[in-house]
């Protein structure tokens, strides 16, 4: 089970999009997993042949637990599948942990406690609990000899209220943001950028192409952010285990608010290398899928910086909270016509407020200021961002 976000502990398996014996390429979608942020298509991160599918629909699987076996290189997938099917294969380790609750948790309604202090669970019930992701310590026994029976497990599973997706997402955001404000010493920089050149250039470009190929200002902003990050790589990456790790590319997390409430910030990959037209197409696709809950695992897991634009709502300035383990967040407000002094004259111009929230453990205001300067410079030369 891949980690589809820093705070993810487990995911509920939905379905396979691949079969045993199927050849898969790196990046291919092989299954769908339900997370607190919605259903996510999981892409496999290594090429090979799928030998055995282990995860079953409805199972709640901790991050890091095996979901499938993959034959790579010259390995024979059938041999791997056969070896996995033999009884010698060890049980998955997380299950054992679940089977060893404190002795005090044992309540067999009057029955003598088992000699070993181990929960009395029928073998079939144990297997069923594993399938349903049920913690046996919380199941009330009523079976023969005061043991937990299969029926007890199924009753316990039915009693678990389906988790409210909205509430779960709220919890996830709360956890991530609390962690951010608890751990990350934020600093904030803001800069007013004259967007007249960019917008005028875009309007001219858009007038000459069909509606479907028009590019929104937000796409240009994203491209400018990605290119500006080349100057200040310490804003792009992760802070983990007390150390900064630079991002492998300019993977911009685009904050998307969802209709039912809550938000996600899936990644657009290598934005600095995309043409403006390609970037726009990807952005549209990403927004559509984010709102219909069809995001891919890589999009969820690896944004290296987040960009949030609240301009549509009339907000002038955004002071964002960094999404850990990222180390910076770029906020962009609305473009509003304001008085602007240029060459000694006051002229009306469309102005946007760009802000940077930075992690002071990793970067300093001095260096980060260069990012906003570079962002401004790039937006004055929109033709350089094509």
């Amino acid at each position: 089970m891949p980690s589809l976000g820093a705070d993810m502990e487990d995911g509920t398996f939905i379905e396979w999009h691949a079969e045993p014996g199927q050849k898969v390429a790196r990046g291919q979608v092989i299954c769908v997993v339900e997370t607190q942020k919605g259903a996510v298509e999981v892409e496999i991160w290594e090429a090979g042949v799928l030998a055995k599918l282990i995860a079953a629909p409805g199972q709640r699987i901790p991050v890091g637990q095996v979901m499938a076996l993959l034959a790579t290189g010259t390995e024979d997938w059938k041999a791997i599948a056969a070896a996995a099917a033999s009884p010698a294969a060890p049980p998955p380790p997380p299950v054992r942990a679940a089977l060893q609750p404190p002795v005090a948790a044992f309540d067999a309604s009057g029955a003598a406690p088992p000699l070993s202090g181990r929960l009395k669970v029928s073998p079939a019930a144990r297997r069923r609990a594993e399938e349903l992701g049920i913690d046996l310590a919380a199941v009330k026994p009523s079976g023969a000899h005061g043991a937990i029976s299969m029926a007890n497990v199924e009753l316990a599973a039915a009693a678990i209220e389906p988790r409210d997706a909205q509430a779960a997402m709220r919890d996830a955001i709360a956890a991530a943001m609390s962690r951010s404000k608890r751990e990350i010493p934020h600093y904030y920089l803001a800069s007013a950028i004259n967007a007249e050149n960019s917008i005028a250039w875009l309007e001219k470009r858009n007038a000459s192409v069909p509606i479907g190929e028009r590019v929104l200002f937000v796409a240009l902003q994203l491209k400018a952010v990605a290119c500006a990050l080349r100057e200040t790589p310490e804003l792009n990456g992760f802070y983990q285990g007390g150390k900064f790790r630079p991002g492998p590319g300019m993977h911009l997390g685009v904050a998307v608010s969802l209709r039912g409430g809550g938000l996600v910030a899936p990644a657009l990959h290598d934005v600095d290398k995309l043409s403006l037209a390609e970037l726009m197409a990807r952005l549209k696709d990403l927004l559509r899928r984010a709102r219909s809950g069809q995001l891919r695992s890589s999009e969820m897991a690896d944004p290296t910086i987040t960009v949030t634009n609240l301009g549509d709502l009339g907000v002038d300035t955004v002071f964002g909270v960094i999404y850990p383990p990222q180390v910076a967040l770029v906020g962009i407000g609305r473009s509003a016509v304001k008085p602007w002094v240029t060459d000694g004259a006051i002229v009306p111009a469309r102005i946007v407020q760009a802000t940077l929230s930075g992690d002071h453990r990793v970067s300093d205001g001095m260096r980060a200021a260069r990012f906003l300067v570079e962002l401004d410079r790039l937006l004055q030369q929109p033709e350089s961002l094509v």
Partner: protein
């Protein structure tokens, strides 16, 4: 021929004997009182008159001698059916059965085989006391080289004998004495029956009653009682006690996840213990409750009616154990 015929277990056994005698001239029956007296349980009544003294042979009261003679005849190409009055008396012939019948194929490197069929009565329920009432088929099922079968239905009572005679090696048939008056309708036209597989006599989903012989009908009655209480019991008739048909047992447990073994024999070192062990070996992870057993009490079978009843599995006890298992 078609249609059904009303018949009892005793008559079904007799039909099986007649059919074997008619179909194969190498077949003959011998044992104590099988001829002039018509068999101690009247199974062979009338056969002496029909087939004559050559083929229906009364023997002296010496189990070792006439079982040994049967083995000798089988070695020389005949297809003898040896009747031993009860399993308790068969112990006098145990040396012949175990040391000769069961071993000769192996000791001769395959040169000699012993196609003898030995029929005997087993079980309690008729107040015949400890020397006539035990269920020792589990002992015989311990011995490699023997095939052990237990007809518990009218069809099997009629059909198992001929199939057993086709086996090139010794087959022991255990007929439970309490079944002799069991009546019912069966096909008038004898069908051949196998002696290899267990049979699911009643389908169910909540637990598997695994039984054979004299306990089958009791288990079926218990299953009917259980059904009234909403418990769906599957009933497996083992039919063959050696070899055991593991696959039918395991398939049933994979469905019901609970097993109750009903065996009139004793628990200790018995057939029920062997079946339990096989379930543990092959279906442990299917079990939702410990394997349970209703068996004969570990005493010599008593003479007094109430004590005898208490010493062997009964319908109420089977049903109660089943309810405990599924609660």
């Amino acid at each position: 021929m078609s249609g059904t015929v009303h018949i009892n277990y005793r008559e079904a056994l007799r039909q099986g004997l007649r059919e074997a005698l008619l179909r194969d001239e190498r077949v003959f029956l011998m044992g104590e009182d099988v001829g002039r007296y018509g068999g101690s349980y009247a199974v062979s009544k009338g056969l002496l008159e029909e087939f004559g003294e050559e083929r229906i042979r009364d023997t002296p009261l010496s189990e070792s001698t006439f079982v040994g003679a049967g083995i000798g005849a089988a070695l020389n190409g005949m297809r003898p059916i040896v009747e031993v009055m009860t399993v308790n008396f068969s112990l006098l012939a145990l040396d012949q059965i175990m040391n000769n019948a069961a071993t000769l194929r192996h000791m001769s490197g395959g040169q000699l085989n012993v196609p003898v069929v030995i029929r005997m009565t087993t079980g309690a329920g008729r107040q015949l006391a400890a020397q006539h009432s035990h269920s020792l088929e589990g002992w015989y099922a311990h011995i490699p080289g023997l095939r052990i079968v237990a007809p518990a239905t009218l069809e099997d009572a009629r059909g198992m004998l001929y199939t057993a005679l086709q086996d090139p090696d010794p087959v022991l048939i255990f007929e439970h004495a309490s079944l002799l008056n069991l009546e019912g309708e069966i096909a008038a036209d004898p069908q051949s029956v196998d002696i290899d597989y267990a049979a699911v006599r009643r389908q169910g989903t909540d637990l598997s009653l695994i039984t054979y012989g004299g306990s089958l009908m009791k288990s079926l009655q218990a299953a009917a009682t259980l059904a009234e209480g909403g418990v769906s019991a599957e009933v497996i008739d083992l039919r063959s006690l050696r070899p055991l048909d593991d696959s039918t047992i395991i398939a049933s447990i994979a469905k019901t996840h609970r097993a109750l073994i009903v065996d009139e024999g004793w628990k200790s070192g018995g057939l029920s213990a062997e079946i339990t062990a096989r379930i543990m070996e092959q279906a442990f992870y299917e079990l939702d409750a410990p394997v349970s057993r209703i068996c004969g009490a570990e005493v010599p079978v008593p003479y007094a009616k109430h004590l005898e009843d208490a010493a062997i599995p009964q319908v109420d006890g089977i049903a109660a154990a089943a309810r405990d298992l599924v609660k």
